[in-house]
C-alpha cells in the first residue's frame, strides 16, 4: 500500500487503538487470523523474520515470545498509528522492531530476510507487480514466505446482499472505485503472478473456503475494517445506508447465525532460488 493518501491506510490508522477489541478478535477475521498464525513456525535458522502488514502487532508479539534468542523480527505496516500500537505492544521485546512501510516499498535491504509472513494484508496492495517484486528483492535466495490473503470469492453472501444498496448510495463510479481498492485474485491469477518472480518448484498456492457464523453485531464489529471503502458516502446518507445494509445482512440469518465465507489464498515459498 502506498503511504500517501489511501483511504484504507487512513481508516486502519484511525482505528488502530480499538483494533485489539475483543469483538474484533472474536469475529470471523479474528478467528481466520488466529488460524493463519497457528500455521506459522519460526525455525532455528531464521535470523531475520518479517511480518508484512503487522497491524497492531498481535502476531509478531506472539511469535517473538517463543522464538530463539538470536532471531530478529521486523514488523512493517503503512498505517502510522498501527505502527505505534505495535511498537508499544512489543516494547519489552528487544528482538522486535516496527517500521512504517508497504508491500510496494519495503524498508529493508535486498536479500536480507530469512522468513517473511503476512496475515490478511496482501489484498490491500495498490500495485501487485511492484509488491511481488519487492517481496522477492528482500528475501534471501533461500528465504521462505507465507502470505495469507483473501481471494476473489471472499464474502460472497454479503456482497450479493449489499452491492445493490451500495450502488444506490454510492453510484456506479464510487462503487467500482471501491472494488478497485482490493486486489482479490483467483488461485490461478495468484499462481501466475507469483510464478513470474519465484521459482515454480518452490512455490505453491492453496485456497480454502471457510464459512464463519456470527450475530449481526458480531459481523458489524469488523465492518469498520472496510469503512475505508465508504468514506465518500455523504454523512447524511451513511446512516440510512448502514440501516439498509444491516437489514439486508439480517435476512441471511439461519440457526447457526449469519454466514460469511472467507475465501483465503495461501502463497507459500520454500527453499528457492530466483528465476
Amino acid at each position: 500500500m502506498s503511504t500517501s493518501v489511501n483511504p484504507i491506510v487512513e481508516t486502519y490508522s484511525r482505528l488502530a487503538h480499538e483494533y485489539d477489541d475483543e469483538a474484533n478478535f472474536q469475529s470471523c477475521w479474528g478467528r481466520a487470523s488466529e488460524r493463519a498464525l497457528s500455521s506459522i513456525h519460526v525455525l532455528g535458522d531464521h535470523r531475520l523474520v518479517v511480518d508484512m502488514g503487522c497491524g497492531s502487532g498481535r502476531a509478531i508479539h506472539a511469535l517473538a515470545a517463543g522464538a530463539p534468542p538470536h532471531t530478529r523480527f521486523v514488523g512493517i505496516d503503512p498505517a502510522e498509528n498501527m505502527c505505534r500500537v505495535a511498537a508499544q505492544k512489543t516494547a519489552l521485546q528487544k528482538a522486535v522492531q516496527v517500521r512504517q512501510g508497504s508491500f510496494e516499498n519495503i524498508p529493508l535491504e535486498s536479500a536480507s530476510v530469512d522468513y517473511l509472513y503476512s496475515i490478511l494484508a496482501f489484498h490491500w496492495v495498490t500495485d501487485l507487480a511492484a509488491s511481488v517484486a519487492e517481496l522477492a528483492r528482500v528475501l534471501k535466495p533461500n528465504g521462505e514466505m507465507d502470505l495469507f490473503f483473501i481471494g476473489r470469492d471472499n464474502g460472497r453472501e454479503f456482497i450479493q446482499k449489499t452491492s445493490a444498496i451500495f450502488l444506490k448510495y454510492m453510484g456506479p463510479a464510487l462503487l467500482l472505485d471501491s472494488a478497485r481498492l482490493r486486489k482479490q485474485l483467483t488461485r490461478d491469477a495468484a499462481l501466475q503472478l507469483f510464478s513470474g518472480v519465484f521459482e515454480p518448484s518452490c512455490l505453491s498456492v492453496e485456497e480454502s473456503f471457510r464459512t464463519y457464523f456470527d450475530t449481526l453485531e458480531g459481523h458489524w464489529s469488523w465492518w469498520v475494517r472496510v469503512e475505508g471503502h465508504f468514506v465518500k458516502i455523504p454523512p447524511e446518507k451513511k446512516t440510512q445506508c448502514d440501516r439498509e445494509v444491516r437489514a439486508a445482512l439480517q435476512t441471511l440469518s439461519e440457526p447457526r447465525g449469519i454466514p460469511y465465507t472467507i475465501h483465503e489464498l495461501h502463497v507459500r515459498v520454500r527453499r528457492r532460488s530466483f528465476i
Partner: protein, 90 residues
C-alpha cells in the same frame, strides 16, 4: 456498433462470466447486481471488455444507479460514451 451488437456483446460476456451457477436467462432486461449474476469486480472486468471491444471510454460519473445494473441500461451508457482519444504526439 449498433445497440443490438452491443447488447449481444454484453450478454455473451455475462453468460461466460456470471458469478452464479443458477441457470439464468440473460436478456436486455436482466438485473445483474442484486440477482448475484455479477459482482462489482465482474462489473470492472465487463467494462474493460466493452471498452476494449468498442474503443469507447465509458464515463460512470453521471450514470444512473437504477440503469447501470441492467443490461440495457449499461448498453445505453456505453452508447453515450465517447471514443478513447489518442495521445497527442510529442
Amino acid at each position: 456498433m449498433t445497440q443490438e451488437q452491443l447488447l449481444q456483446l454484453l450478454i455473451d460476456w455475462i453468460k461466460s462470466n456470471k458469478r452464479t451457477s443458477n441457470h439464468t436467462d440473460i436478456s436486455p432486461d436482466t438485473e445483474l447486481l442484486e440477482s448475484g449474476i455479477l459482482d462489482s469486480f465482474a462489473f470492472l472486468d465487463l467494462i474493460l471488455h466493452v471498452e476494449s471491444k468498442t474503443g469507447l471510454q465509458i464515463d460512470l460519473a453521471d450514470a444512473d444507479p437504477r440503469e447501470f445494473a441492467i443490461v440495457r441500461g449499461l448498453s445505453n451508457l456505453a452508447l453515450k460514451s465517447q471514443p478513447v482519444q489518442p495521445c497527442p504526439q510529442a
